[in-house]
């Protein structure tokens, strides 16, 4: 997108906001809107982070005065948000209650949405800080992009259906009903986090930052070395993670029955490489691009729960659904991945020993 287009878009946004604010000034605004944002202050300007520069530019563009703005009421149009609103801004009302419930589910689905979760993972294992951290596919960057067409199921998905997909694949569970509490709470939470994000515009911060192509094709053997040196401390020599004292969730399993299934986005080597490069090891993401690719291949060359779309034949399932950078259906260490998969959709999950 070139600069002049950006200016026009930003100008329209200001114009639209000004007109809307004016209308709100006349009518007092819809009650639910006032309730929803009661007590919510504007998020503090972000001073650090990779997206600050870009977001800052958009913010400047949006704050340029336009002819119509002069006639609008004194309240200025909100700039594009540079971060999610602080937790303290969740309002103390019915809407706020739903938002908090959404955050709770997101942080600990095994406890708060246990009917729909079939493994030992949590949403925030891959979307840090309960979906707030912009380097790990934040919720505020996803919300404005739906409804959207998805190649994965070849139709337009709204946000509720997208969330259902997370449960079916990443959580190896079952899709909660779209009008039920779980999906409603998660939607409210995502909507609240996305305050100030332009709807339908590709946000700078979306998904995981792209990782450069590796100089060498990813290698299982090199990946195993990376894993033992950089990952095993937390995820275990066998990749099965570690429980906290008392059996509470600790470090997540990366393969096997307790991890994401063969239909989850993270089983793709490119997706895992991008996540690992941006975020792992936790708090000290210092792997090279090559190391990230190698260890992503190693992790995703282990058995995990079956693809829920499995039709009885690994070969056919692979041909139909796995035309991408994944290892499903390929032979690793003499075994075809997918032939010995634990079942998919194992809910309710019996507590792990």
């Amino acid at each position: 997108m070139n600069k002049s287009v950006l200016m026009v878009v930003a100008g329209c946004a200001v114009l639209g906001s000004a007109a809307w604010l004016f209308a709100m000034g006349l009518t007092g605004g819809p009650e639910d809107y006032a309730e929803r944002y009661a007590g919510q202050s504007a998020p503090p300007a972000q001073t650090a982070g990779k997206s600050a520069g870009e977001a800052g530019k958009a913010g400047e563009a949006a704050s340029q005065p336009s002819p119509a703005a002069k006639d609008a009421p004194a309240k200025p149009a909100a700039p594009v948000a540079t971060s999610a609103p602080p937790r303290s801004a969740i309002p103390d009302n019915e809407f706020g209650k739903l938002v908090r419930q959404g955050e709770q589910i997101f942080a600990n689905p095994g406890q708060f949405a246990s009917d729909w979760v079939g493994n030992d993972l949590s949403c925030q294992n891959c979307h840090f800080d309960a979906g707030r951290y912009d380097q790990t596919a934040s919720l505020r960057s996803a919300w404005p992009m739906y409804p959207a067409y998805r190649g994965k199921n070849k139709h337009v998905n709204d946000f509720a259906e997208r969330l259902q997909g997370c449960f079916t694949y990443s959580m190896n569970g079952k899709a909660p009903p779209r009008d039920g509490e779980v999906i409603q709470a998660l939607q409210a939470y995502a909507f609240w986090l996305a305050k100030g994000m332009p709807t339908g515009e590709q946000p700078e911060v979306r998904g995981y930052p792209k990782v450069a192509d590796p100089a060498e094709p990813p290698s299982y053997a090199r990946g195993e070395t990376v894993f033992q040196e950089h990952c095993a401390l937390c995820h275990g020599d066998d990749g099965q993670g570690q429980k906290a004292a008392g059996g509470a969730p600790g470090f997540p399993p990366l393969w096997g029955a307790g991890s994401y299934n063969w239909g989850a986005g993270m089983h793709r080597v490119n997706t895992a490489a991008a996540f690992i490069k941006a975020a792992m090891p936790l708090g000290k993401p210092d792997l090279t691009d090559q190391q990230a690719w190698d260890v992503a291949l190693f992790i995703n060359s282990h058995e995990r729960p079956q693809d829920p779309r499995f039709n009885g034949s690994v070969k056919e399932t692979a041909e139909r659904f796995h035309q991408h950078q994944g290892e499903y259906g390929k032979t690793v260490n003499g075994q075809v991945l997918g032939e010995h998969s634990p079942p998919s959709g194992t809910v309710p999950r019996s507590p792990s020993p």
Binding site: Q46, A48, G49, S83, R87, F128, D129, A130, R132, Y133, H230, L233, C234, Q242, K243, A244, A245, G246, G247, A248, P249, G250, F251, P281, L282, G283, K284, P285
Partner: protein, 205 residues
């Protein structure tokens, strides 16, 4: 020597079977500050239930001086390798007593915020991500923080910042402490000190 190894081996073997094994003679020097059962005292940390590998690593670091501590250096230096291992295995096998049910809830505030959520605009993970949701540790290498003396916890964070304690496996804690300021250290130390070291009702979680 052989007899000691056999004894040690048996101790390790039976440590799971019996709630309490007899303390190795070398553990006698620990009790004055850390308590007979490793439950800690007002200013000194508890050792009961810490990872065996973790305790052993600390004893080695005290002896070598990498972890600077005037009290612990002579104690650790005075233990043979076998004795250090025996002491580590012993305290690791003990459990903390259930907390007094009247103990206060930990304070809400910046300490809790850091502990539970971290500070991701500085790429700082939450403490609980590695030390467990209740701060009671994960596995051998991530020790419990809950119920340790606030002064002790704060001193450790300061020591990492000052390079007076090894940064830990993969240098994780050294890297984290760099991003905490003096107020953070105090707040987060107070938060974990206020948490119970063991669940309030034993066996009920």
């Amino acid at each position: 020597m052989a007899r000691l190894s056999v004894t040690l081996g048996l101790c390790l073997l039976f440590s799971c079977a019996f709630a309490q094994q007899p303390p190795p003679p070398a553990a006698g020097s620990c009790a004055a500050c850390h308590g007979q059962e490793g439950q800690g005292t007002a200013a000194f940390p508890h050792l009961a239930g810490l990872g065996e590998a973790y305790i052993r690593r600390q004893l080695d670091a005290f002896a070598s001086g990498e972890r600077a501590n005037a009290t612990m250096k002579p104690v650790a230096s005075g233990l043979s390798e076998t004795q250090r291992q025996a002491v580590a295995a012993y305290f690791s096998s003990l459990k903390m007593a259930p907390a007094d049910s009247a103990s206060a809830e930990p304070p809400d505030g910046p300490g809790r915020e850091l502990a539970v959520h971290g500070r991701w605009d500085q790429e700082l993970p939450a403490c609980v991500q590695c030390h467990g949701p209740d701060g009671r540790g994960i596995g051998e290498d991530f020790p419990p923080l809950a119920g340790q003396p606030a002064g002790y916890l704060e001193d450790q964070l300061k020591a990492w910042r000052a390079g007076q304690r090894p940064a830990g496996p993969q240098g994780l804690m050294g890297h984290i402490a760099e991003r905490l300021d003096a107020d953070d250290l105090k707040a987060v130390a107070q938060y974990f000190a206020a948490l119970p070291a063991a669940p309030k009702e034993s066996g009920h979680e």
